[in-house]
């Protein structure tokens, strides 16, 4: 019994760590999300420290990964030697995967929390030593690097020391990027050789018109900066900023598409569909076409709008899942809640008649039924749950049709993603790219597998994560 509870707790936490980013959602505010998430972290850390650390190996989101690392380092004294060794490796591996700005933010957070044990310093030192281009980091994340270096008692080599702590002293640098940075203070042409975020500040200082600036900085933009800036650059007539949509991650791309107006989407239908399909094919990899007959019930009700901070995120996940499932399935039928059948033109509007659409889906007799929804079934409330329960218990007890519910929204009040019914597994989802792995994890949520199986699964994931042989 205790085992089952433990397994439940861990799954609860994993769902939260995948979906919640502590930001405002459609139904709850940022504080509620933060408080609720903070409680879960605390609870798991105190009760199942090793499992808590092991979740770093799963596809949890960056916000939660940083929180876990922070919490582990803050409470380092509570761990024994063995645990510390395991945690240290997990943390180091996870930090390698996190985007550098997240890691620097985490280091600053540790500094604010006055965590400066030997282990923390060693982790910071190793991570900084492994950075491919310290000078580039020093320019791009200057304040953060300075804080990290200071906090970890490091002695940066070469010109980095003067650059960080006494930048007015040298008359010139020999490291090219540092020298460019120095020149950019007075030379307008120099700033175009700097990273975009740094150059932006210099452009403002030199009063360079935005359009001209975007036009010339275009080659220095990162992939996501390019995607983000594309529309505003186009409006200003800076045509050089053009993202290659086919190389974008699927969910980001879906978010971008949903950010366009309906007219624009209709006009660029071919291009956008092709980009989404290409991205989905790449994500599906060798699984493509191997899922048999798939029906998806996709939520485009008003609540899929998300919030002002996570704009259209739930809908973007649904749209990305749509294209991914299309690539995975041999025979695929999408059912949007609104009844629309043009996926490219979806927008969040209307109620959530999930029950009816699930019935429509089951009518088609698929091998798999995938439901992507925030779980706020309201027309009528709870019908989807009832339909699935009766279907599972009376009509399909043999599991001929696998049903899985993927939920992109963390429900702060319930400390979990909202479930439709206990008989159907529900998994949190952040990026559609994780869909395949999540459907595997979701089977634990059916409550039939206990802690030993879950532990074994986690051990496998941890081993794979750390790059060991199982």
């Amino acid at each position: 019994m205790a085992d089952l509870i433990a397994a439940d707790d861990v799954l609860l936490f994993v769902n939260a760590a995948i979906t919640s980013t502590g930001q405002r959602e459609f139904h709850s505010g940022a504080e509620e999300q933060g408080l609720s998430l903070g409680f879960l972290h605390r609870y798991l850390l105190v009760n199942y420290r090793d499992l808590y650390a092991a979740t770093l190996a799963l596809d949890i989101n960056d916000h939660n990964a940083a929180l876990i690392v922070r919490n582990l380092l803050v409470t380092a004294a509570e761990a024994d030697a063995e645990q510390r060794r395991a945690e240290g490796r997990l943390i180091a591996r996870r930090l390698e995967l996190l985007p550098p700005q997240r890691v620097y933010a985490l280091f600053r957070e540790l500094r604010r929390a006055r965590v400066n044990n030997r282990r923390t310093r060693a982790i910071m030192r190793d991570w900084l030593a492994a950075r491919p281009d310290p000078a580039f980091d020093a320019v791009k994340y200057r304040g953060a690097v300075k804080d990290a270096v200071r906090h970890a008692h490091l002695r940066p080599d070469g010109e980095l020391g003067p650059f960080l702590f006494a930048f007015r002293r040298p008359a010139a640098y020999t490291t090219p990027i540092l020298e460019t940075w120095r020149r950019a203070h007075y030379d307008q042409t120099a700033l175009y050789a700097l990273p975009y975020t740094v150059a932006e500040g210099f452009a403002a200082k030199h009063r360079i018109p935005r359009a001209a600036f975007l036009e010339r900085i275009a080659p220095r933009l990162t992939r996501l900066e390019r995607l983000r800036l594309q529309e505003s650059a186009r409006e200003r007539g800076a045509g050089a900023v053009r993202a290659d949509l086919t190389t974008m991650p699927l969910t980001r791309l879906a978010s971008y598409v949903l950010g366009l107006s309906l007219d624009e989407r209709a006009r660029r239908r071919g291009e956008l569909t092709e980009a989404l399909r290409a991205s989905a094919r790449r994500t599906a990899g060798d699984q493509a076409g191997r899922w048999g007959r798939v029906v998806a019930v996709l939520d485009d009700s008003f609540s899929a709008y998300g919030s002002g901070t996570k704009r259209r995120r739930p809908l973007a996940v649904a749209l990305a899942c749509h294209f991914l499932l299309e690539a995975l399935a041999a025979d695929y039928t999408p059912l949007w809640l609104s009844g629309r059948d043009d996926a490219l033109l979806v927008h969040p509007y209307g109620a959530t008649p999930l029950g009816e659409r699930v019935l429509d889906g089951l009518d088609l007799g698929p091998d798999r039924l995938v439901i992507v929804s925030d779980g706020w079934d309201n027309a009528p409330p709870g019908l989807a749950g009832e339909v699935l329960r009766v279907w599972r218990t009376r009509l399909d007890p043999g599991h001929t049709c696998g049903v899985v519910h993927l939920n992109p929204v963390y429900d702060a009040d319930g400390f979990d993603v909202r479930r439709l019914t206990p008989v159907v597994p529900t998994a949190g989802i952040r990026d559609a790219e994780d869909l395949v792995a999540l459907t595997e994890l979701a089977r634990f949520a059916e409550g039939r597998t206990g802690l030993p199986e879950l532990r074994a699964h986690l051990d496998r994931r941890v081993a794979a994560f750390l790059g060991e042989d199982t």
Binding site: Y349, G350, L359, P381, G385, V387
Partner: protein, 380 residues
Amino acid sequence: MIEPAGLTTRPAQVWGGVRLVPLVRETPIEDLRLDVRLHDADFGVVAVDARTDYWSYIPHGYVATWGDDAPAAAYGTQLLSPAERTRTPDRMALRFHRRMARRVAKNRLRFLPLHLALEGYLALHFGGPEIAWREWSHRAISHGLSPRVEEAYTGAVVRGLDDALRVFEIHAGQCGVLLYVADALASAFVVPRPADYRALHGTLLLDLYGELIYHYAMLSMPVPDFGARIADANVRSLADLRAEAARQREEWTAFHDEVMAGGLLGADYTYEHVYELGPYRLSRFLPPFERRRDNHIGELITDESGQVAYLKTFRLSENQVRRGHLLTVLAANDWSLPGTAAALGVTEPELGRRIENAGFGHLLRQDVRDHYRARRSHAG
């Protein structure tokens, strides 16, 4: 009776203590629409073809800049024919403080601040004594019930209403909503077209709600959802399952219309026809002022067949019902005190006390009040 013909009840959406029941119209009424000036000014909706014939309406208390200078509030809901589409509606100029005026400049729609609208509602109904019985004070004869003050709360202070309206998912084709707080029907709101509803959904927060609703919202626990329940035993195939699901919806609709909205739909209203225009008729209605049940005042636009095109109601609190009851009985008996006392089955001094308790003491002459008081203490 209000006949909600053409409107279908859909499953309610619950948030905390607030339950919103959407009403969906199968066929929207296209030839009656929200005044186009409002649409243009506030919602940026593309104007309809000028040749299209339609009648327009302006809800009571709607604040906008009507062609002339300063922003003004529409006074009483109004119907405009196609020909007078440019006519400036009856209105009441508003004086804003400096800060308000700046917000007005943004051309945002807004309803009247608090009790002005409610006062309007009640003042429209009650004119004061028509026969100068000697008991009534000089002021009552010359000024009627004026000044007549009623208080209400704006939706913004009704706890949980803002969130409930924010997270509410508007149905396709939705033309109205019934708003329950702690399962007491607070307000009904129906418009002719889904586009109008979408435009006005947010204004429910600027509306007025009675004291009862305010307190219910403050004290109520979250109300339960009417979740679907399917009995396993009846289901042998997917078709059975579908039939059961459909039955769930029908049961809810029937239950809601009979039980939850019964107080609004079933009551005997007194209608006052204000205006007729084309096929449409604007009326205000008063409830029977029966105690211990819900009493709603409101305004209504119906077409020839009696179909509700526009409806807006306000739920009176218990005290307001008592006052309304007293005034209607007085009016029914031509404001004669002995007659009214007999109709109510009380003595004249008792009636005098009721009038005083209802806040209408100033309508009686001072010597009459003193006389009643002396007779009461003598009797007691």
